[in-house]
Amino acid sequence: MEFLVTIGANLSLGLGEALTVSNLWYCFVGVTLGCLVGVLPGLGSLIAISLLLPVTYHLPTSGALIMLAGVYFGADYGGGTCSILLGVPGHPAAAVDVLDGYPMSKQGRGGIALFMKSIASFSGSLVGIVFLILLAPWLAEVAIHFGSADYTGLMVLGLVAASSVGKGSPIKGLAMMLVGLLLATVGTDLNSGVARFDFGVMELTDGIELVALAMGVFAIAEVMSSAGTTRPKTNQRFGLRDQMPTREDWRRSFAPIIRGSGIGSFFGALPGTGGGMATFLAYAVEKRISKHPEQFGNGAIEGIAAPEACNNAGVGTAFIPTLTLGIPGDAIMALMLAALVIQGIQPGPEVMTSHPELFWGLVVSFVIGNILLLILNIPLIGLWVRLLQIPYPVLFPGIILFTCIGVYSTHNNVFDIWILLFFGVMGFVMLLLKLEQVPLLLGFILGKPLEENFRRSLVLARGDFWVFLERPVSATALGVTVLLLCFSFWSYWRGKSKKTAIV
């Protein structure tokens, strides 16, 4: 009972924070921009958030986070539109919507698919937010007692999980994560004051600007590789009436939404499972337990409902480790963390106790943002669909321009545009060589805190490396890391030998 009272008090605190005019405005701007960028093909939530990161330099703390979170939710809502109507995933996380959404759209049921996508996203988000409300305070309380050795272990676990579990080769992911860690060491070392890897360039002693790195590696590299392409267009139009699902559709979607939300909530909180892996799992589960598995791939509404619920439930729970431990599970959460650092807040369990209005305001604004998104997406869907008619050649010069100005505006220094260009070319080479970009960004963001905690824990232990195995939390984290490494290499080799066996 006492527990519920605390939560109630916290939520009312959050309500007070989130319902200020300025925060409501930031929330609205965030979800609208997120939706806009999510609908446009080729721009996922990751690019959307890195594009808006420079803006947050000029906003108050809670406004900045509320806006970025709004962008994340909004991009997830908008992301499926392109998949459903064009059969081309706008970005990887929405790829699963193609499977049943596109067939539905070809059957003239595209409006219903879009409607159910919004409903499922909304329900999934709410489930994720409930888990966030229940679990985050508890985890933050536990994490207060963590020492620097524990943080080192947890960060290693987070980094290894996010870079080795995934579609590509685990060893290449790990290598890119190490490149990210190295890039983080550029600049002045906080302990000794020595400038590292600055090569005599004055600007580099401040370190590499995160905004320039993220936008270069994601946005510029993407534009470089796709600027010469044309994309399919649609001229479908939707009103409210075209979107109304039948009673049968409602009945069939209910349970998949619940199951999808459960799967998404669980995997969202774990590191390394983002980027559509959980959504495909939710899809596979529905197909497995369905009485009509043959309908999947031919326009089964469950194939929209479950993955979309899963996707958005994961957004909510992904904030649990990010806000309580300061350890992000994927690149988007890493950018959220970076936004906190830009605002001068040290991420960690203290955020909840020292800035309760920030945390709870953020939670309440999630709910508000999702209600706004439901309004934006159901009656106004026609507007978003019309965005798909913008040809890509008109779009990409604008993306380049906004990236350049955004990077310039962080310090009003042209040098940052050169950094942007450098990382754009690097990201392009990485695409050519099939090296993943996400581990690089994650390594870069966690590099500084990892080095700091690693050094501090060894200073405290007088250079004794056993300290990492003596403390239960860090020992468990490192043990799980080793198991995870074994598992991912084993499954990669198994997959590879199977593939060669077929060839």
């Binding site: 190490l178 590789s225 600027a227 010469g228 380049i400 350049c404 060589l433």
Partner: protein, 164 residues
């Protein structure tokens, strides 16, 4: 899938980066001891690990290449000349995007926001397929007005629209 040549290049590149970082950190900065680490310790360890991983990637790829050579008597061309992970790969779009950004960075403070935006847009538009001159010019004008309205008028960015 012939990923081997690509992986060979990737592994070599990573190994070189790791080796360079490790050597640079080890020689230029104080490494210290585990109990009292200097600024070079962490980059040295990370650089060496990266070099090792890169070496493993390159060697594994080389073994696969040799294996292929024995069984098929053909070697794939290096991935730089093939499509790789990018569909519809072409040099022109990539180069024009790079040139557009470089041009923007050089002209933003020298000429002002509007000329820089026009140059960026016209240069980036060279990438579009099929190329349309009229669309590029209209877009350049529209984007420069938009950028000026948003960033200079709206957000008060300290850049002048024209700077002569």
């Amino acid at each position: 899938m012939k990923d081997e040549t690509r992986d060979f290049f990737a592994g070599t590149l990573l190994a070189v980066i790791g080796l360079f970082a490790g050597v640079h950190a080890g020689f230029s900065y104080d490494v210290g001891s585990p109990a009292n680490m200097g600024p070079g310790f962490f980059p040295l360890v990370i650089g060496c690990t990266l070099a090792l991983l890169g070496l493993v990637i390159a060697l594994m790829a080389r073994r696969a290449m040799l294996h292929q050579l024995q069984t098929q008597h053909t070697v794939e061309r290096p991935p730089i000349y093939r499509y790789g992970a990018i569909k519809n790969f072409g040099w022109l779009p990539a180069v024009s995007v790079v040139a557009a950004i470089a041009l923007f960075s050089q002209t933003l403070e020298a000429l002002g926001l509007i000329p820089a935006t026009v140059l960026l847009t016209l240069c980036a538009c060279l990438a579009q397929r099929p190329y349309r001159l009229k669309r590029s010019i209209v877009l350049a004008i529209a984007l420069s007005i938009l950028a000026w309205l948003i960033f200079v008028v709206g957000l008060g960015m300290p850049v002048s629209a024209f700077h002569f």
